[in-house]
């Protein structure tokens, strides 16, 4: 069953917004960080999908389920801190460049992943793949609407059922934006009935 959109909230005015779904008390942006920073929640998640951690990719990386839990919670704190830095910089008049922050996936779909280097547990200065993804639809230049996010344990989104839920959320928001004549510039002549 797909989620219904309750509304949107502003993260960075004119540049970054987040969807809030019906049945949830927070925007996706806030909700995801709460989940990802909580070791018990992350532990439950890893335990549910422990078979994915047995894939050759993770075995070659030498990352155990315990390592993954610690890395995910640390990455969540570091990612939140990165957004806080961006926010505090806007106080000095800086305009955040989300075109650089979000990576193109497909059509209007983009994802955020932490790319700046942080000293992480057990990595001994070595890079490790980032686990966290924030999915968004690009509404226009340097303006994104967050639809959700996930802990990514597989290479492709179709390799895990829980990631399919994120695809459904992207489609739901995409359809809604089309209905509101926001996404498709070609249809702007039909917007008279909208306030």
């Amino acid at each position: 069953m797909s989620l219904k959109i309750k509304g949107i909230k502003t993260i960075f005015k004119d540049h970054l917004y987040s969807v809030q779904y019906e049945g949830y008390s927070e925007s996706e942006f806030t909700r995801l960080f709460k989940l990802w920073k909580n070791p018990e929640n992350v532990d439950l998640f890893i335990d549910t999908y422990k078979d994915l951690m047995k894939s050759p990719f993770w075995v070659e990386q030498g990352i155990s389920a315990s390592d993954a839990r610690r890395l995910i919670t640390q990455e969540a704190v570091a990612t939140e801190s990165h957004f806080l830095d961006l926010y505090l910089n806007t106080m000095n008049g800086d305009v955040p460049d989300f075109n650089q922050e979000f990576v193109f996936l497909d059509k209007q779909v983009f994802e955020f992943r932490l790319r700046s280097k942080h000293k992480m547990y057990g990595t001994h200065g070595k890079d490790h793949p980032s686990f966290l993804r924030i999915y968004a639809i690009k509404v226009e230049n340097n303006c994104f609407l967050i639809t959700g996010g996930a802990i990514k344990l597989t290479h492709r989104m179709d390799e895990a059922a829980y990631l399919q839920e994120e695809v459904r959320k992207l489609n739901t928001v995409h359809d809604w934006l089309e209905q509101e004549y926001i996404l498709d510039g070609e249809d702007l002549n039909n917007y008279e009935s909208y306030e």
Partner: protein, 150 residues
């Protein structure tokens, strides 16, 4: 969407307002980063130990004498735990979560015990040699003792 309205204006119009919740949380975390990191480390250590001992969270709660909800709070990674709570967790798990002067000493004794057990065959050999020896020569030089068994 009104035809005179840009896409961004439309988003601003329908937005329920600035999401201040993540911002407050992020600023609070930055101000309290030092102890929050420790809280998260302890939560991760406890979860590792629960997995290692195959202990459920409800058994852990029972061993600690607290409710399962309290355990959930403790494992949230943002709980300011006091020494009594940490000690209760250590007792329930039979492990040391936070090193202090005394348990660092305990840990050193543990290491000596390990060395001693490693040397047991050597001690056994020396004892057997002593039993069968007719003469024992003891040389003491600069605190070193040598036993020569003939």
């Amino acid at each position: 969407m009104n035809k005179n309205m840009s896409k961004v204006d439309f988003l601003n119009k329908i937005s329920a307002g600035q999401d201040t919740e993540w911002l407050k949380e992020a600023m609070w975390r930055r101000e309290n980063a030092a102890w929050l990191k420790k809280s998260m480390d302890i939560a991760n250590d406890v979860l590792d130990e629960l997995h290692r001992q195959k202990m459920s969270k409800s058994d852990f709660a029972r061993a600690m004498g607290v409710s399962p909800q309290r355990v959930t709070t403790l494992l949230s990674g943002k709980e300011k735990m006091n020494l009594e709570t940490i000690s209760k967790m250590e007792e329930a798990l039979h492990v040391t979560l936070v090193r202090t002067g005394s348990n660092v000493e305990d840990s050193a004794s543990e290491k000596h015990r390990h060395v001693a057990s490693f040397m047991l065959p050597l001690v056994h050999y020396a004892t057997e040699s002593l039993k069968s020896a007719d003469n024992i020569f003891v040389n003491s030089k600069r605190g070193k003792v040598e036993l020569n068994c003939i």
